[in-house]
């Protein structure tokens, strides 16, 4: 019952790390359902290699998660992400301050980015990995990581700048009304 043993060991590992992995998967996919499917697929692969793993199982699992996500795991997820964006735009933010709104908006844009850019940004700014570490995790050249990061950040900056401009415009409008 080697599989059962592996599942037992994996269970113990997940009891400590599952929530964090799930949060990462949510950021990579944009929804909890898709995240659960992504994590499940990565876990299946981990189980398959459990007894032949040389290093840290979490590192293997994260690599699998990121690579699946970067390869566009479950392309159907695009529709779900779009729905999520629409839903988010019609909801009042939990915190009404502009900064909080901007944070939320940045994440919404992040979820709209192509899978490779999104994976890179999650690794860099959620996992706090360096460019070299990110490249190693994804098995990509460092230059590819750099360019994907730059493109993703450019989108986010454009959004942020547009946001600030809108804020300034609104303040000016409020001032005129007063």
């Amino acid at each position: 019952m080697a599989d059962d043993r592996a599942a037992g060991e994996l269970d113990r590992f997940l009891s400590e790390r599952a929530d964090l992995l799930m949060r990462t998967a949510v950021l990579l996919t944009g929804s909890r359902d898709a995240a659960q499917d992504l994590l499940q697929t990565a876990l299946e692969r981990l189980l398959r290699h459990w007894h032949s793993l040389d290093g840290d199982p979490e590192a293997y699992l994260r690599r699998t998660l990121y690579n699946l996500a970067a390869d566009g795991f479950r392309r159907r997820g695009r529709l779900q992400r779009k729905l999520l964006l629409l839903r988010a735009e019609t909801q009042a933010p939990a915190d009404a301050t502009a900064v909080v709104d901007l944070r939320d908006a940045l994440v919404r844009i992040l979820l709209q980015l192509p899978p490779r850019q999104r994976a890179v940004l999650v690794l860099r700014y959620w996992e706090q990995l360096t460019e070299a570490e990110t490249a190693a995790a994804l098995g990509w050249p460092e230059g590819t990581v750099k360019s994907a990061t730059a493109r993703g950040l450019r989108r986010l900056r454009e959004l942020a700048e547009g946001w600030h401009q809108a804020e300034l415009d609104e303040r000016e409008l409020r001032g005129q009304r007063a």
Binding site: A2, D3, D19, R23, Q40, E44, L102, L106, V107, L110
Partner: protein, 322 residues
């Protein structure tokens, strides 16, 4: 500004996932889904193979008697031959419709067989709710058709088909994929999988006359009936290259047990197990238990032994799982 955006993004991600918790039982579900995938691959690898193990064991035992090394506690070979001959007569004489419900590896499945017709359907289980178009699952419970293997009437002619409901596709089964013998390589492979009936039980029985051995190994209570237990000899076979690559193992060792009602001499339960090993993957067991019912050959029951390809499904050249 750049730093601000990066910091705000990090905080945004923190906020966005703040309430996220992983569902319980992730490892168990991953293990189960992996086994399901292996079982489906094994089943597909041998076409409409599977077991009809009762018949195979029955005939094998009748032909070969008890194997060398049978323990002294077992019923003697003469008794085994008598039991087995009664089972064989019961199966041959009544032209009944077989219905098998299987649990264990691969989730629930239902098999129907009547003469040359057969239908095997596998369903998603409670841990693998709705099947997605890529063959993976959501995790919200429920049970729906996943695959079907068996006989369909195409142009009025019985034809072997393989249907994948999750992506709405179907394909023809390769001719000759039905094992000539339960002790052939593909037949042995199928023994570790849920029972997909062979296309023709009598032919299958005759083809296995020269194969292996089985023994009456005692009794077991099933649903209040003291059944006779017949166990086949373990069989070890080398996996075909495609299958070996898929599950990353070179060999499979399988064994069947069939439980027979002592009044009707019809099999009421069939269990199979398989152990794959010898490759890059760790050794893995797969088991299945099937409860069998023998139904009158009414038109309604016979009709259930046919696969119906739903309207709108696309034909493809090979099954999605392969």
């Amino acid at each position: 500004m750049n730093t601000d955006v990066e910091e705000l993004l990090r905080e945004g991600m923190e906020r966005y996932t703040a309430g996220v918790r992983a569902p319980a039982g992730l490892a168990h579900t991953a293990n189960r889904l992996r086994r399901r995938r292996m079982a489906v691959r094994a089943a597909v690898a041998c076409g409409t193979a599977a077991v009809a193990a009762a018949a195979a064991i029955v005939v094998a035992a009748r032909a070969g008697g008890a194997p060398a090394g049978t323990s002294s506690g077992m019923v003697n070979a003469h008794t085994a031959a008598y039991v087995i001959s009664r089972v064989d007569n019961a199966l041959a004489g009544q032209h009944l419709v077989l219905r098998a419900r299987t649990s264990g590896v691969g989730g629930p499945s239902i098999s129907w067989a009547y003469g040359p017709r057969s239908r095997f359907e596998e369903f998603t289980g409670t841990e693998g709710g709705q099947a997605l178009s890529n063959g993976t699952f959501t995790h919200h419970g429920g049970s729906e058709r996943y695959i079907a293997v068996g006989t369909a009437l195409i142009g009025g002619k019985p034809t072997g088909v393989y249907v994948t409901y999750y992506n709405r596709e179907w394909s023809l089964l390769p001719k000759g994929s039905i094992p000539a013998s339960a002790c052939s390589r593909t037949g042995a492979l199928a023994m570790a999988s849920p029972p997909i009936p062979t296309s023709n039980w009598p032919a299958f029985i005759h083809a296995t006359l020269a194969c292996g051995a089985a023994t009456v190994t005692g009794h077991a209570w099933i649903n209040g009936v003291k059944t006779v237990r017949i166990t086949g000899s373990p069989v070890t076979v080398k996996l075909p290259p495609g299958e070996a690559k898929a599950i990353r193992a070179k060999w499979i060792r399988t064994q069947w047990t069939v439980y027979v009602n002592p009044k009707t001499y019809l099999p009421v339960r069939l269990s199979g197990s398989g152990y794959t090993y010898g490759g890059a993957a760790p050794g893995a067991y797969a088991t299945s238990v099937s409860d069998l019912q023998w139904l009158r050959p009414t038109a309604a029951n016979i009709a259930k032994a046919l696969v119906t390809i739903p309207a709108g499904f696309h034909q493809v050249s090979s099954p999605a799982d392969q």
